[in-house]
Symmetry: C2
Subunit: 195 residues, 2 copies
Amino acid sequence: MRQNPARRTALLDAAIEVLAREGSRGLTLRAVDAEAQVPVGTSSNYFFNRAELLRQIMRRTRERLTPDPAALAATMAATPSPELVALLLRQVHQRMDADRSSYLAMLELRLEGTRRPELGADLNKILSAELEDNVRFHQDAGLPGDRVTIILMYLAVHGMIVDDLTVPDVLSGSAGELIDELSGRLLGNSARDTP
Amino acid sequence: MRQNPARRTALLDAAIEVLAREGSRGLTLRAVDAEAQVPVGTSSNYFFNRAELLRQIMRRTRERLTPDPAALAATMAATPSPELVALLLRQVHQRMDADRSSYLAMLELRLEGTRRPELGADLNKILSAELEDNVRFHQDAGLPGDRVTIILMYLAVHGMIVDDLTVPDVLSGSAGELIDELSGRLLGNSARDTP
């Protein structure tokens, strides 16, 4: 059967909604067809099996969570500083807020990966590469902070996102200020350093 | 029917294993009976319905993850210092390593809580109280670090635990050293401060 790239993307976006809303056991090709409002059987023309569907969902969430290049370039026009690092981390948190389904779907995939070795291996590979990409981006941009600092900030923001997605009352809206504190405490504050 | 507290605990421990291994949709009263090797129908004498089972599992994971009072008292015999904070955080990570099922079950419950408002409300309440308890414990013990520092450390260790449970290659065994760096960078290092 002829495949249409836009249709494939629409099916993956529908699958992300199903996964976020119903959990991994609720994710069937039939549920994806229903969510995408396409004839029953359509998804099975695009995804060889469930493992293949999970793999493609994972890649699609990465695409959706990648910052818009123009917006990122505008942010990076500023001089490297602890405040710019805080802004970048706030933008990671804002992307989560704007696309909760992708993050919830990724949490479902992470748990499913503990049960399916092939998916687990893919996730380990992709998320390890993503952390290395983040470290490289940070360093290439001349932003303050060594490798360990970058990793510690990634971990704190990751913990924050998991809490804000699943138990929002715990931080009750303070993520933005906590990110500023995180960056200020780990990197110093450039205003404070000015004589 | 007469209920037996030890039997109830055994059923909840079986339910934690099922939840960690199969995910929330795999958690049925029948699956708990099978895991606990008790006659079919036993769980339904202990748990009124699935919502009640989930609520009790949540409380049981909190019990299992609470440090042993004697071990905690031994740790707290040391003088308060950044190194003692690092040791306490390392012990949180070690408890995860020793009881992955409880943490995985909690992640499953967190996701299930996004779909079940009643469970979500319970989780918000319990995990908010837990964070406040941690802040109070830290401050009452005279450990270094203000409220924001304690919360930032909690978030980073939480992010670390989620990665180590679901994508262990990302940090590939460096959690212990990262915890030392986290505490050293946020609290200073007492050895370094000694003249």
